[in-house]
């Protein structure tokens, strides 16, 4: 019997083994690809990284706050302010905490209250001609509360009432700032780098 005939069964087994390995690899890669195409992530992750519907990645930050207390968002109030910062802020630095992206958020713990609150914020617009003003939409716990247009480099005091209904059943007050006129650092830059305002101080009083 020629040698080639003797080796033929082994060659066939080797070939079959090769196809098996190839099949296992192909199936594994298809399964992994399918898993990757269906990420198992929470809504915050999906909104920021995958859908890109927000520039502000929500985090479980919750600052402690006493009603009537004025919190500085300059360097001098860094410790207190840091606890309230959720996302979309850079700083604090000497002239305040700078917004970063298209939305910024603050979150603070509030005691049960019977009435609404009056918010008093000191904010300054980031200006770069031709953009000479900044429109800011402020929401509390997802409810639009106040719209303000800031202009000029000097801080402006903005005051508005937060109705009790906005936080009646909530343990925290989540304040979102949506910027309609953010300034990107360059034409090709990502929207996570847009600049809009500088927050200087924050205060809530019983209405």
């Amino acid at each position: 019997m020629p040698w080639s005939d003797t080796l033929a069964p082994y060659r066939r087994a080797g070939s079959f083994g090769g196809y098996m390995v190839a099949a296992v690899l192909a199936v594994s890669e298809i399964v992994i690809l399918a898993l990757a195409l269906h990420p198992d992530v929470n809504a915050d992750y999906r909104a920021y990284y995958i859908d890109r519907t927000t520039t502000c990645l929500n985090r479980d930050a919750l600052g402690s706050y006493t009603v009537g207390q004025r919190v500085s968002f300059r360097s001098d109030g860094a410790k207190l302010a840091a606890g309230m910062i959720v996302c979309g802020w850079s700083g604090p630095v000497a002239d305040g905490t700078h917004s970063l992206g298209e939305t910024s958020r603050l979150r603070l713990e509030i005691p049960p209250l019977r009435d609404g609150l009056t918010a008093t914020l000191q904010m300054a617009a980031v200006i770069r001609p031709p953009q000479m003003s900044q429109r800011v939409l402020i929401s509390v716990n997802g409810i639009p509360i106040h719209k303000v247009t800031l202009s000029g480099k000097e801080p402006t005091t903005v005051s508005f009432v937060i109705p009790h209904a906005a936080f009646a059943n909530a343990k925290a007050l989540d304040m979102a700032f949506d910027y309609l006129d953010g300034i990107p650092p360059s034409a090709a830059a990502s929207n996570i780098y847009k600049r809009s305002i500088k927050l200087v101080s924050f205060r809530l009083d019983a209405a």
């Binding site: 070939s15 083994g17 090769g18 196809y19 390995v21 190839a22 690899l25 192909a26 594994s28 890669e29 992994i32 690809l33 898993l35 990757a36 195409l37 990420p39 198992d40 992530v41 929470n42 992750y45 920021y48 990284y49 995958i50 890109r52 990645l57 985090r59 479980d60 930050a61 996302c87 090709a188 830059a189 990502s190 996570i192 780098y193």
Partner: protein, 411 residues
């Protein structure tokens, strides 16, 4: 090629010659070839070693010129810039899940795991600071990459000297001797192309799998493998249409192709299990501010970023020039018949160019086929070879100073 050509010549002479003088001539060829090989072997080992030593000396001198803190560890830390810190973190702490600790948006997921894993493994045996272990490992990888390049350079000693000088004592040698993925990437790329040159597809596939776990673009080397297979099929008088059937009839080739992206798929699975998102390495790019755009526009923006003072190109201009040079060299590779290498390099440049010009210089100089080609082209004449060698060695000092100083084009 030199050895192959000599062997072929000897075979031809042996096969056709009946006269004793011809046989003697053949023997003389073989003996002289063997002697040459014996003489070359120590040189092949010694040349990269010398450049490794000279490179450390030059870069240390550059480091000493900008800092007062002496010592090899301080030197290694000073050269650990930009992405290097991420790799140190991964090597020491691994990857984080989500939410990222310290309320950060930026996960380490964008940095591929093989090299930090390798350093972590070595550190368990040699318990020294990570950056020290990584620096020595990087030098070792670059040294090994030089040895692997010897057959890729067709055993051309002049080109080999230039290649070793570039990698270990050249203007970008800090990329190949600190904790970045470039040293392993160059080593594995060279190994893959050597395996392909020897038509050892299974080895090429396994090495490609490692390459795909080193950097995302590593997975693209599978195209070079497929092209090499196609070229082999054509050389055996196969037609283009019969190639898929021929491939399906070769289980070894199927395994080689399918195993090539295994490193990437393993990382995708790991990310799915830890973060819940297998493509976290892509999605995290948002937190780094990378936005997809038109590569041509990015190139144009880079080239038109003219300096406001002086005549030296700006960082964006250097990056754009590096991309264009890399693409031009990729075309030269294709023209020289190295279609797989040309395509691999071109796609490795174009893919990151879709987001912007960041790190473009590093990406281009880290493409082994381009370094091999450049070394061959520059060693075509003694004059250009000598000029390039002097330029590489002297630029090493100034570029290291620029790297330590955080010059943006070198990021």
């Amino acid at each position: 090629m030199g050895k192959g050509r000599t062997n072929n010549l000897a075979t031809v002479i042996k096969g056709t010659g009946h006269a004793s003088s011809v046989t003697d001539q053949a023997k003389h060829f073989e003996i002289s070839h063997d002697r040459r090989s014996i003489l070359e072997a120590p040189a092949v080992v010694a040349v990269p070693l010398l450049f490794a030593i000279s490179g450390i000396a030059i870069r240390y001198a550059a480091f000493a010129s900008v800092t007062a803190e002496p010592g090899f560890e301080s030197y290694a830390r000073a050269l650990c810039r930009w992405d290097c810190h991420w790799y140190v973190d991964i090597s020491e702490r691994g990857y984080e899940s989500f939410p990222i600790p310290n309320q950060s948006n930026v996960g380490r997921w964008g940095f591929f795991p093989l090299y930090p894993m390798l350093v972590a493994g070595i550190r368990t045996v040699f318990p020294f600071p990570t950056i020290l272990v990584a620096t020595i490992t990087s030098i070792a990888c670059s040294y090994a990459a030089c040895l692997i390049a010897w057959p890729l350079l067709e055993k051309n000693m002049r080109a080999y000297v230039l290649y070793c000088a570039f990698l270990l004592s050249g203007p970008f040698s800090f990329h190949f001797t600190t904790f970045l993925t470039e040293p392993l990437f160059v080593l594995l790329t060279s190994c893959v192309f050597l395996a392909l040159k020897r038509t050892n597809y299974l080895v090429a596939g396994i090495l490609s799998a490692l390459l795909s776990a080193t950097r995302l673009v590593g997975v693209l080397v599978v195209f070079a493998t497929a092209i090499q297979m196609f070229q082999q099929h054509r050389a055996q008088d196969g037609t283009t249409l019969s190639f898929p059937l021929w491939l399906l009839g070769r289980p070894d080739l199927l395994v080689a192709i399918l195993i090539s992206p295994a490193g990437l798929f393993a990382y995708i699975l790991f990310l799915y299990l830890t973060v819940g998102d297998g493509f976290a390495f892509l999605h995290v790019q948002r937190a780094f501010g990378r936005v997809a755009g038109n590569p041509l526009l990015f190139l144009w923006d880079g080239l038109s970023a003219v300096p406001t003072t002086g005549w030296l190109p700006t960082a964006p201009q250097w990056s754009a020039l590096a991309a264009l040079t890399g693409l031009a060299l990729s075309v030269v590779l294709a023209v020289r018949g190295q279609y797989g290498a040309g395509l691999f390099c071109a796609v490795c440049i174009i893919l990151p160019l879709i987001t912007n010009l960041a790190s473009m210089v590093r990406y281009v100089v880290g493409l082994a086929p381009l370094i091999v080609l450049t070394a061959i082209l520059l060693s075509a004449s003694k004059l250009t070879w000598l000029a390039a060698l002097v330029l590489f060695l002297s630029a090493c000092y100034f570029m290291t100073v620029a790297w330590i100083g955080g010059y943006l084009a070198l990021v």
